[in-house]
Symmetry: C2
Subunit: 232 residues, 2 copies
DNA sequence: GTGTGCAGATTGTTGAACAATCCTGCAATG
DNA sequence: CATTGCAGGATTGTTCAACAATCTGCACAC
Protein backbone atom coordinates (compact mmCIF):
# COMPACT_ATOMS: atom_id res chain seq x y z
CA UNK A 1 0.00 0.00 0.00
CA UNK A 2 1.10 3.54 -0.59
CA UNK A 3 1.37 6.22 2.02
CA UNK A 4 -1.37 8.14 0.22
CA UNK A 5 -3.79 5.31 0.80
CA UNK A 6 -2.80 5.12 4.42
CA UNK A 7 -3.43 8.83 4.86
CA UNK A 8 -6.81 8.35 3.28
CA UNK A 9 -7.69 5.74 5.86
CA UNK A 10 -6.64 8.00 8.63
CA UNK A 11 -8.65 10.97 7.44
CA UNK A 12 -11.69 8.76 6.95
CA UNK A 13 -11.40 7.44 10.46
CA UNK A 14 -10.86 10.95 11.78
CA UNK A 15 -14.12 11.98 10.17
CA UNK A 16 -15.98 9.08 11.78
CA UNK A 17 -14.43 9.68 15.13
CA UNK A 18 -17.38 11.81 16.20
CA UNK A 19 -19.63 8.76 16.04
CA UNK A 20 -17.42 6.95 18.49
CA UNK A 21 -17.61 9.66 21.11
CA UNK A 22 -20.49 8.51 23.20
CA UNK A 23 -23.02 11.13 24.01
CA UNK A 24 -23.65 12.26 27.56
CA UNK A 25 -26.67 10.94 29.42
CA UNK A 26 -28.08 14.45 29.37
CA UNK A 27 -28.12 14.27 25.58
CA UNK A 28 -29.95 10.99 25.62
CA UNK A 29 -32.46 12.25 28.16
CA UNK A 30 -33.01 15.30 25.97
CA UNK A 31 -33.64 13.04 22.98
CA UNK A 32 -36.26 11.13 24.90
CA UNK A 33 -37.99 14.27 26.11
CA UNK A 34 -37.87 15.83 22.65
CA UNK A 35 -39.63 12.80 21.21
CA UNK A 36 -42.29 12.93 23.89
CA UNK A 37 -42.93 16.62 23.35
CA UNK A 38 -43.04 16.44 19.55
CA UNK A 39 -45.23 13.34 19.68
CA UNK A 40 -47.67 15.32 21.80
CA UNK A 41 -47.32 13.02 24.81
CA UNK A 42 -46.40 16.02 26.94
CA UNK A 43 -48.74 18.81 26.01
CA UNK A 44 -47.68 22.45 25.60
CA UNK A 45 -48.05 24.45 28.79
CA UNK A 46 -47.44 21.46 31.01
CA UNK A 47 -44.78 21.82 33.68
CA UNK A 48 -41.94 19.33 33.88
CA UNK A 49 -41.36 18.47 37.52
CA UNK A 50 -37.70 17.84 38.27
CA UNK A 51 -38.16 15.34 41.05
CA UNK A 52 -40.88 13.28 39.41
CA UNK A 53 -39.23 13.22 35.99
CA UNK A 54 -35.82 12.48 37.47
CA UNK A 55 -37.18 9.47 39.31
CA UNK A 56 -39.10 8.26 36.27
CA UNK A 57 -36.06 8.46 34.00
CA UNK A 58 -33.65 7.29 36.70
CA UNK A 59 -31.34 10.25 36.36
CA UNK A 60 -30.24 12.81 38.90
CA UNK A 61 -31.74 16.27 39.06
CA UNK A 62 -28.50 17.79 37.79
CA UNK A 63 -28.42 15.64 34.69
CA UNK A 64 -32.08 16.29 34.06
CA UNK A 65 -31.53 20.01 34.34
CA UNK A 66 -28.81 19.79 31.70
CA UNK A 67 -31.30 18.09 29.41
CA UNK A 68 -33.81 20.85 30.16
CA UNK A 69 -31.26 23.42 29.16
CA UNK A 70 -30.66 21.70 25.84
CA UNK A 71 -34.35 21.70 25.00
CA UNK A 72 -34.80 25.24 26.26
CA UNK A 73 -32.14 26.27 23.79
CA UNK A 74 -34.13 24.54 21.07
CA UNK A 75 -37.15 26.57 22.20
CA UNK A 76 -39.20 23.46 22.90
CA UNK A 77 -39.22 24.28 26.60
CA UNK A 78 -39.33 27.61 28.36
CA UNK A 79 -37.67 28.26 31.68
CA UNK A 80 -39.09 30.60 34.29
CA UNK A 81 -36.82 31.45 37.15
CA UNK A 82 -37.73 29.72 40.40
CA UNK A 83 -40.82 28.26 38.76
CA UNK A 84 -39.47 25.54 36.55
CA UNK A 85 -39.59 24.54 32.93
CA UNK A 86 -42.71 24.17 30.82
CA UNK A 87 -43.43 22.86 27.37
CA UNK A 88 -43.59 25.91 25.17
CA UNK A 89 -47.02 27.17 24.19
CA UNK A 90 -46.68 28.41 20.61
CA UNK A 91 -48.15 31.87 20.11
CA UNK A 92 -49.18 33.50 16.87
CA UNK A 93 -46.37 36.01 17.38
CA UNK A 94 -43.91 33.09 17.43
CA UNK A 95 -45.27 31.87 14.10
CA UNK A 96 -44.84 35.32 12.58
CA UNK A 97 -41.30 35.61 13.89
CA UNK A 98 -40.45 32.12 12.77
CA UNK A 99 -41.72 32.56 9.24
CA UNK A 100 -39.95 35.90 8.89
CA UNK A 101 -36.75 33.94 9.57
CA UNK A 102 -37.72 31.14 7.18
CA UNK A 103 -38.44 33.64 4.41
CA UNK A 104 -34.96 35.09 4.72
CA UNK A 105 -33.13 31.80 5.02
CA UNK A 106 -34.98 29.59 2.58
CA UNK A 107 -35.49 32.17 -0.17
CA UNK A 108 -31.84 33.10 0.16
CA UNK A 109 -30.87 29.45 -0.04
CA UNK A 110 -32.91 28.90 -3.20
CA UNK A 111 -30.92 31.67 -4.88
CA UNK A 112 -27.77 29.64 -4.22
CA UNK A 113 -29.01 26.80 -6.44
CA UNK A 114 -26.57 27.41 -9.29
CA UNK A 115 -23.59 27.66 -6.98
CA UNK A 116 -24.45 24.61 -4.84
CA UNK A 117 -22.68 21.26 -5.33
CA UNK A 118 -24.63 18.74 -7.37
CA UNK A 119 -24.90 16.28 -4.46
CA UNK A 120 -26.89 18.79 -2.42
CA UNK A 121 -29.15 19.70 -5.32
CA UNK A 122 -29.83 16.02 -5.75
CA UNK A 123 -30.85 15.80 -2.09
CA UNK A 124 -33.52 18.42 -2.78
CA UNK A 125 -34.86 16.42 -5.72
CA UNK A 126 -34.80 13.24 -3.64
CA UNK A 127 -36.84 14.85 -0.90
CA UNK A 128 -39.53 15.86 -3.37
CA UNK A 129 -39.55 12.40 -4.93
CA UNK A 130 -39.86 10.82 -1.50
CA UNK A 131 -42.88 12.97 -0.75
CA UNK A 132 -44.51 12.01 -4.05
CA UNK A 133 -43.96 8.34 -3.26
CA UNK A 134 -45.52 8.72 0.17
CA UNK A 135 -48.52 10.49 -1.26
CA UNK A 136 -49.12 7.62 -3.68
CA UNK A 137 -49.38 5.20 -0.79
CA UNK A 138 -51.51 7.61 1.21
CA UNK A 139 -48.88 7.91 3.95
CA UNK A 140 -49.64 11.49 4.98
CA UNK A 141 -47.41 11.61 8.03
CA UNK A 142 -44.71 10.38 5.65
CA UNK A 143 -45.47 13.26 3.33
CA UNK A 144 -45.06 15.59 6.27
CA UNK A 145 -41.62 14.32 7.23
CA UNK A 146 -40.59 14.36 3.55
CA UNK A 147 -41.62 17.99 3.49
CA UNK A 148 -39.35 18.72 6.45
CA UNK A 149 -36.52 16.92 4.64
CA UNK A 150 -37.17 19.09 1.60
CA UNK A 151 -36.80 22.31 3.47
CA UNK A 152 -33.69 21.12 5.24
CA UNK A 153 -32.19 20.16 1.91
CA UNK A 154 -33.05 23.57 0.46
CA UNK A 155 -31.37 25.25 3.40
CA UNK A 156 -28.25 23.18 2.80
CA UNK A 157 -27.94 24.87 -0.61
CA UNK A 158 -26.57 27.90 1.22
CA UNK A 159 -23.58 25.86 2.34
CA UNK A 160 -23.55 26.84 5.99
CA UNK A 161 -23.81 24.21 8.71
CA UNK A 162 -24.75 27.01 11.10
CA UNK A 163 -27.79 27.85 9.03
CA UNK A 164 -28.64 24.16 8.75
CA UNK A 165 -28.56 23.91 12.52
CA UNK A 166 -30.76 26.97 12.93
CA UNK A 167 -33.27 25.60 10.44
CA UNK A 168 -33.35 22.31 12.34
CA UNK A 169 -34.32 24.26 15.45
CA UNK A 170 -36.92 26.34 13.63
CA UNK A 171 -38.59 23.29 12.13
CA UNK A 172 -38.66 21.48 15.47
CA UNK A 173 -40.33 24.49 17.04
CA UNK A 174 -42.85 24.54 14.21
CA UNK A 175 -43.81 20.96 14.94
CA UNK A 176 -44.92 22.19 18.35
CA UNK A 177 -47.56 24.30 16.65
CA UNK A 178 -48.72 21.26 14.72
CA UNK A 179 -49.02 19.38 17.99
CA UNK A 180 -51.54 21.85 19.41
CA UNK A 181 -53.65 22.16 16.27
CA UNK A 182 -53.39 18.65 14.86
CA UNK A 183 -52.15 18.55 11.28
CA UNK A 184 -54.55 18.11 8.42
CA UNK A 185 -53.69 15.99 5.41
CA UNK A 186 -55.16 18.36 2.84
CA UNK A 187 -52.48 20.70 3.99
CA UNK A 188 -49.56 18.51 2.99
CA UNK A 189 -51.15 17.77 -0.36
CA UNK A 190 -51.04 21.48 -1.03
CA UNK A 191 -47.43 21.75 0.03
CA UNK A 192 -46.24 18.87 -2.06
CA UNK A 193 -47.52 20.36 -5.30
CA UNK A 194 -45.69 23.58 -4.48
CA UNK A 195 -42.49 21.63 -3.85
CA UNK A 196 -42.89 19.90 -7.19
CA UNK A 197 -43.36 23.27 -8.84
CA UNK A 198 -40.21 24.58 -7.21
CA UNK A 199 -38.05 21.69 -8.31
CA UNK A 200 -39.27 21.91 -11.90
CA UNK A 201 -38.44 25.62 -11.93
CA UNK A 202 -35.00 24.95 -10.56
CA UNK A 203 -34.19 22.14 -12.94
CA UNK A 204 -35.16 24.46 -15.80
CA UNK A 205 -32.84 27.16 -14.45
CA UNK A 206 -35.69 29.47 -13.41
CA UNK A 207 -34.28 30.32 -10.00
CA UNK A 208 -36.28 33.51 -9.71
CA UNK A 209 -39.59 31.70 -10.23
CA UNK A 210 -38.59 29.02 -7.74
CA UNK A 211 -37.95 31.70 -5.14
CA UNK A 212 -41.39 33.18 -5.77
CA UNK A 213 -42.93 29.73 -5.35
CA UNK A 214 -41.09 29.32 -2.05
CA UNK A 215 -42.40 32.69 -0.94
CA UNK A 216 -45.95 31.66 -1.80
CA UNK A 217 -45.48 28.40 0.10
CA UNK A 218 -44.25 30.23 3.19
CA UNK A 219 -47.03 32.80 3.05
CA UNK A 220 -49.65 30.11 2.79
CA UNK A 221 -48.17 27.94 5.53
CA UNK A 222 -47.83 30.89 7.86
CA UNK A 223 -51.42 31.92 7.40
CA UNK A 224 -52.63 28.39 7.86
CA UNK A 225 -50.73 27.99 11.12
CA UNK A 226 -51.59 31.45 12.41
CA UNK A 227 -55.32 31.07 11.90
CA UNK A 228 -55.28 27.48 13.11
CA UNK A 229 -53.49 28.57 16.25
CA UNK A 230 -55.71 31.58 16.88
CA UNK A 231 -58.94 29.60 17.03
CA UNK A 232 -57.68 26.33 18.41
CA UNK B 1 -56.01 59.48 35.35
CA UNK B 2 -57.73 57.54 32.64
CA UNK B 3 -57.85 53.81 32.34
CA UNK B 4 -55.86 54.13 29.11
CA UNK B 5 -52.98 55.70 31.01
CA UNK B 6 -53.16 53.01 33.60
CA UNK B 7 -53.00 50.32 30.94
CA UNK B 8 -49.96 52.06 29.52
CA UNK B 9 -48.21 51.80 32.85
CA UNK B 10 -49.01 48.18 33.08
CA UNK B 11 -47.72 47.31 29.66
CA UNK B 12 -44.55 49.27 30.33
CA UNK B 13 -43.99 47.43 33.57
CA UNK B 14 -44.77 44.13 31.89
CA UNK B 15 -42.06 44.86 29.38
CA UNK B 16 -39.53 45.65 32.10
CA UNK B 17 -40.48 42.64 34.11
CA UNK B 18 -37.72 40.61 32.52
CA UNK B 19 -35.14 42.88 34.14
CA UNK B 20 -36.55 42.09 37.53
CA UNK B 21 -36.27 38.36 37.12
CA UNK B 22 -32.85 37.71 38.44
CA UNK B 23 -30.80 35.49 36.26
CA UNK B 24 -29.28 32.27 37.47
CA UNK B 25 -25.71 32.32 38.71
CA UNK B 26 -24.80 30.13 35.76
CA UNK B 27 -25.91 32.94 33.48
CA UNK B 28 -23.80 35.45 35.32
CA UNK B 29 -20.78 33.15 35.30
CA UNK B 30 -21.30 32.67 31.56
CA UNK B 31 -21.38 36.45 31.10
CA UNK B 32 -18.09 36.80 32.92
CA UNK B 33 -16.44 34.02 30.96
CA UNK B 34 -17.77 35.39 27.67
CA UNK B 35 -16.23 38.76 28.42
CA UNK B 36 -12.91 37.17 29.29
CA UNK B 37 -12.86 35.10 26.12
CA UNK B 38 -13.88 37.93 23.80
CA UNK B 39 -11.42 40.29 25.46
CA UNK B 40 -8.69 37.79 24.72
CA UNK B 41 -7.87 37.17 28.37
CA UNK B 42 -8.43 33.46 27.86
CA UNK B 43 -6.80 32.53 24.60
CA UNK B 44 -8.34 30.16 22.04
CA UNK B 45 -7.24 26.57 22.54
CA UNK B 46 -6.81 26.95 26.26
CA UNK B 47 -8.55 24.43 28.47
CA UNK B 48 -10.90 25.59 31.20
CA UNK B 49 -10.25 23.53 34.29
CA UNK B 50 -13.41 22.92 36.28
CA UNK B 51 -11.90 22.74 39.71
CA UNK B 52 -9.57 25.72 39.37
CA UNK B 53 -12.15 27.94 37.68
CA UNK B 54 -14.85 26.95 40.11
CA UNK B 55 -12.68 27.93 43.05
CA UNK B 56 -11.64 31.18 41.41
CA UNK B 57 -15.22 32.22 40.68
CA UNK B 58 -16.56 30.78 43.94
CA UNK B 59 -19.17 28.61 42.29
CA UNK B 60 -19.68 24.88 42.45
CA UNK B 61 -18.62 22.58 39.67
CA UNK B 62 -22.24 21.93 38.75
CA UNK B 63 -23.02 25.60 38.28
CA UNK B 64 -19.82 26.14 36.34
CA UNK B 65 -20.69 23.28 34.03
CA UNK B 66 -24.04 24.94 33.40
CA UNK B 67 -22.19 28.06 32.30
CA UNK B 68 -19.93 25.95 30.08
CA UNK B 69 -22.99 24.47 28.45
CA UNK B 70 -24.33 27.93 27.64
CA UNK B 71 -21.09 29.11 26.04
CA UNK B 72 -20.68 25.86 24.15
CA UNK B 73 -24.06 26.54 22.54
CA UNK B 74 -22.75 29.95 21.55
CA UNK B 75 -19.81 28.20 19.92
CA UNK B 76 -17.32 30.15 22.02
CA UNK B 77 -16.26 26.96 23.79
CA UNK B 78 -15.97 23.43 22.50
CA UNK B 79 -16.64 20.39 24.61
CA UNK B 80 -14.75 17.12 24.21
CA UNK B 81 -16.18 14.20 26.07
CA UNK B 82 -14.16 13.18 29.11
CA UNK B 83 -11.55 15.78 28.25
CA UNK B 84 -13.15 19.05 29.18
CA UNK B 85 -14.01 22.35 27.55
CA UNK B 86 -11.65 24.55 25.57
CA UNK B 87 -11.87 28.02 24.10
CA UNK B 88 -12.73 27.51 20.45
CA UNK B 89 -9.90 27.84 17.96
CA UNK B 90 -11.45 29.52 14.90
CA UNK B 91 -10.63 27.68 11.67
CA UNK B 92 -10.80 29.02 8.15
CA UNK B 93 -13.64 26.57 7.49
CA UNK B 94 -15.58 28.24 10.32
CA UNK B 95 -15.11 31.63 8.68
CA UNK B 96 -16.40 30.29 5.36
CA UNK B 97 -19.41 28.71 7.02
CA UNK B 98 -20.11 31.81 9.04
CA UNK B 99 -19.97 34.19 6.11
CA UNK B 100 -22.18 31.93 4.01
CA UNK B 101 -24.75 32.39 6.77
CA UNK B 102 -24.18 36.13 6.97
CA UNK B 103 -24.61 36.51 3.21
CA UNK B 104 -28.01 34.84 3.38
CA UNK B 105 -29.25 36.65 6.45
CA UNK B 106 -27.92 40.16 5.94
CA UNK B 107 -28.56 40.43 2.21
CA UNK B 108 -32.05 39.09 2.79
CA UNK B 109 -32.56 41.62 5.57
CA UNK B 110 -31.47 44.51 3.36
CA UNK B 111 -34.20 43.56 0.89
CA UNK B 112 -36.72 44.09 3.67
CA UNK B 113 -35.86 47.79 3.92
CA UNK B 114 -39.07 49.09 2.38
CA UNK B 115 -41.27 46.87 4.53
CA UNK B 116 -39.44 47.55 7.81
CA UNK B 117 -40.85 49.98 10.42
CA UNK B 118 -39.28 53.42 10.36
CA UNK B 119 -37.87 53.05 13.90
CA UNK B 120 -35.71 50.12 12.84
CA UNK B 121 -34.51 51.84 9.69
CA UNK B 122 -33.53 54.80 11.86
CA UNK B 123 -31.48 52.44 14.05
CA UNK B 124 -29.47 51.48 10.98
CA UNK B 125 -28.81 55.13 10.15
CA UNK B 126 -27.86 55.83 13.76
CA UNK B 127 -25.34 53.01 13.77
CA UNK B 128 -23.61 54.43 10.70
CA UNK B 129 -23.64 57.93 12.18
CA UNK B 130 -22.15 56.60 15.39
CA UNK B 131 -19.33 54.97 13.46
CA UNK B 132 -18.61 58.21 11.59
CA UNK B 133 -18.44 60.08 14.88
CA UNK B 134 -16.03 57.56 16.34
CA UNK B 135 -13.81 57.77 13.29
CA UNK B 136 -13.57 61.53 13.64
CA UNK B 137 -12.21 61.16 17.14
CA UNK B 138 -9.89 58.32 16.06
CA UNK B 139 -11.64 55.85 18.32
CA UNK B 140 -11.06 52.74 16.22
CA UNK B 141 -12.31 50.19 18.71
CA UNK B 142 -15.41 52.40 18.86
CA UNK B 143 -15.73 52.18 15.09
CA UNK B 144 -15.54 48.42 15.41
CA UNK B 145 -18.38 48.17 17.92
CA UNK B 146 -20.42 50.64 15.85
CA UNK B 147 -19.91 48.32 12.91
CA UNK B 148 -21.31 45.41 14.92
CA UNK B 149 -24.29 47.58 15.88
CA UNK B 150 -24.82 48.37 12.21
CA UNK B 151 -25.03 44.74 11.19
CA UNK B 152 -27.32 43.90 14.07
CA UNK B 153 -29.59 46.76 13.07
CA UNK B 154 -29.62 45.57 9.47
CA UNK B 155 -30.58 42.08 10.62
CA UNK B 156 -33.45 43.55 12.62
CA UNK B 157 -34.94 44.79 9.33
CA UNK B 158 -36.09 41.23 8.72
CA UNK B 159 -38.35 41.46 11.78
CA UNK B 160 -37.43 38.17 13.39
CA UNK B 161 -36.07 38.03 16.92
CA UNK B 162 -34.87 34.52 16.17
CA UNK B 163 -32.68 35.82 13.37
CA UNK B 164 -31.49 38.67 15.59
CA UNK B 165 -30.44 36.13 18.18
CA UNK B 166 -28.63 34.00 15.63
CA UNK B 167 -26.78 37.04 14.30
CA UNK B 168 -25.75 37.93 17.84
CA UNK B 169 -24.17 34.49 18.15
CA UNK B 170 -22.51 34.69 14.75
CA UNK B 171 -20.95 38.08 15.51
CA UNK B 172 -19.70 36.91 18.89
CA UNK B 173 -18.04 33.93 17.26
CA UNK B 174 -16.48 36.25 14.69
CA UNK B 175 -14.90 38.28 17.45
CA UNK B 176 -13.02 35.14 18.40
CA UNK B 177 -11.26 35.27 15.05
CA UNK B 178 -10.35 38.90 15.69
CA UNK B 179 -8.89 37.87 19.02
CA UNK B 180 -6.37 35.53 17.44
CA UNK B 181 -5.33 37.85 14.61
CA UNK B 182 -5.57 41.22 16.30
CA UNK B 183 -7.78 43.69 14.44
CA UNK B 184 -6.27 46.33 12.24
CA UNK B 185 -7.69 49.84 12.10
CA UNK B 186 -7.29 50.27 8.34
CA UNK B 187 -9.79 47.49 8.18
CA UNK B 188 -12.59 49.33 9.94
CA UNK B 189 -11.95 52.45 7.89
CA UNK B 190 -12.69 50.38 4.84
CA UNK B 191 -15.88 48.96 6.35
CA UNK B 192 -17.25 52.28 7.44
CA UNK B 193 -17.16 53.74 3.94
CA UNK B 194 -19.05 50.70 2.69
CA UNK B 195 -21.66 51.19 5.40
CA UNK B 196 -22.06 54.82 4.38
CA UNK B 197 -22.49 53.75 0.79
CA UNK B 198 -25.17 51.27 1.81
CA UNK B 199 -27.18 53.76 3.81
CA UNK B 200 -27.09 56.33 1.01
CA UNK B 201 -28.34 53.72 -1.44
CA UNK B 202 -31.13 52.75 0.92
CA UNK B 203 -32.23 56.31 1.63
CA UNK B 204 -32.42 56.86 -2.11
CA UNK B 205 -34.57 53.77 -2.53
CA UNK B 206 -31.87 51.80 -4.33
CA UNK B 207 -32.30 48.59 -2.38
CA UNK B 208 -30.73 46.43 -5.07
CA UNK B 209 -27.51 48.48 -5.05
CA UNK B 210 -27.41 48.41 -1.26
CA UNK B 211 -27.60 44.62 -1.33
CA UNK B 212 -24.71 44.50 -3.78
CA UNK B 213 -22.69 46.74 -1.48
CA UNK B 214 -23.44 44.42 1.43
CA UNK B 215 -22.28 41.48 -0.65
CA UNK B 216 -19.03 43.27 -1.48
CA UNK B 217 -18.52 44.08 2.18
CA UNK B 218 -19.03 40.47 3.21
CA UNK B 219 -16.75 39.14 0.47
CA UNK B 220 -14.00 41.52 1.47
CA UNK B 221 -14.34 40.87 5.21
CA UNK B 222 -14.36 37.12 4.69
CA UNK B 223 -11.22 37.20 2.61
CA UNK B 224 -9.49 39.45 5.09
CA UNK B 225 -10.31 37.15 7.97
CA UNK B 226 -9.55 33.95 6.09
CA UNK B 227 -6.11 35.06 4.96
CA UNK B 228 -5.35 36.65 8.32
CA UNK B 229 -6.26 33.42 10.03
CA UNK B 230 -4.33 31.18 7.65
CA UNK B 231 -0.99 32.88 8.23
CA UNK B 232 -1.38 33.90 11.82
C1' DG C 1 -64.10 40.81 48.19
C1' DT C 2 -59.42 42.17 49.55
C1' DG C 3 -55.33 41.69 51.83
C1' DT C 4 -52.21 39.02 55.14
C1' DG C 5 -49.62 35.39 56.79
C1' DC C 6 -48.40 30.69 57.24
C1' DA C 7 -47.21 25.93 55.59
C1' DG C 8 -45.98 22.87 51.95
C1' DA C 9 -43.93 22.11 47.61
C1' DT C 10 -40.55 23.22 44.12
C1' DT C 11 -36.51 25.16 42.45
C1' DG C 12 -31.48 27.14 43.00
C1' DT C 13 -27.06 26.02 44.56
C1' DT C 14 -23.59 23.78 46.90
C1' DG C 15 -20.31 20.19 48.42
C1' DA C 16 -18.93 15.61 48.65
C1' DA C 17 -18.43 11.18 46.81
C1' DC C 18 -17.43 7.52 43.51
C1' DA C 19 -16.84 5.59 38.79
C1' DA C 20 -15.02 6.23 34.29
C1' DT C 21 -11.75 8.19 31.47
C1' DC C 22 -7.68 10.52 30.11
C1' DC C 23 -2.81 11.90 30.39
C1' DT C 24 2.02 11.22 31.72
C1' DG C 25 6.08 9.12 32.67
C1' DC C 26 8.76 5.07 32.75
C1' DA C 27 10.16 0.57 32.11
C1' DA C 28 10.32 -3.35 29.09
C1' DT C 29 10.58 -5.30 24.64
C1' DG C 30 11.96 -5.87 19.99
C1' DC D 1 15.59 4.03 18.43
C1' DA D 2 10.72 3.25 18.13
C1' DT D 3 6.92 0.97 20.08
C1' DT D 4 4.19 -1.17 23.49
C1' DG D 5 2.36 -2.02 28.15
C1' DC D 6 1.30 -0.42 32.55
C1' DA D 7 0.76 1.99 36.83
C1' DG D 8 -0.47 6.31 39.09
C1' DG D 9 -2.34 10.79 39.29
C1' DA D 10 -5.40 14.13 37.53
C1' DT D 11 -9.72 15.38 35.44
C1' DT D 12 -14.24 14.68 34.05
C1' DG D 13 -19.12 12.26 34.31
C1' DT D 14 -22.74 11.42 37.33
C1' DT D 15 -25.21 10.94 41.39
C1' DC D 16 -26.83 12.12 45.95
C1' DA D 17 -28.11 14.71 50.02
C1' DA D 18 -28.74 18.94 52.07
C1' DC D 19 -30.06 23.71 52.74
C1' DA D 20 -31.51 28.38 51.13
C1' DA D 21 -34.58 31.00 48.29
C1' DT D 22 -38.78 31.30 46.09
C1' DC D 23 -43.36 30.24 44.63
C1' DT D 24 -48.23 28.52 45.41
C1' DG D 25 -52.36 27.67 47.71
C1' DC D 26 -55.28 28.15 51.52
C1' DA D 27 -57.18 29.72 55.68
C1' DC D 28 -58.18 33.70 58.17
C1' DA D 29 -59.26 38.41 59.48
C1' DC D 30 -61.25 42.77 58.20
Amino acid sequence: MTSVESDDWLSTLARERADLDRSTTADRVADKLRDSVLAGDIKPGRQLNEKALGEALRVSRNTLREAFRLLTHERLLVHEYSKGVFVRVPEVADIRDLYAARRIIECGAVRCWDRAPEAIRQAVRDAVALGVGQRERDDWPGVGTANVKFHQAVTALAGSSRLDEEMRRLLAELRLAFVVMGDSRMFYEDYLTLNEEMISHLDAGRVEEAEQAMLRYLDRAEEHLATGLRDR
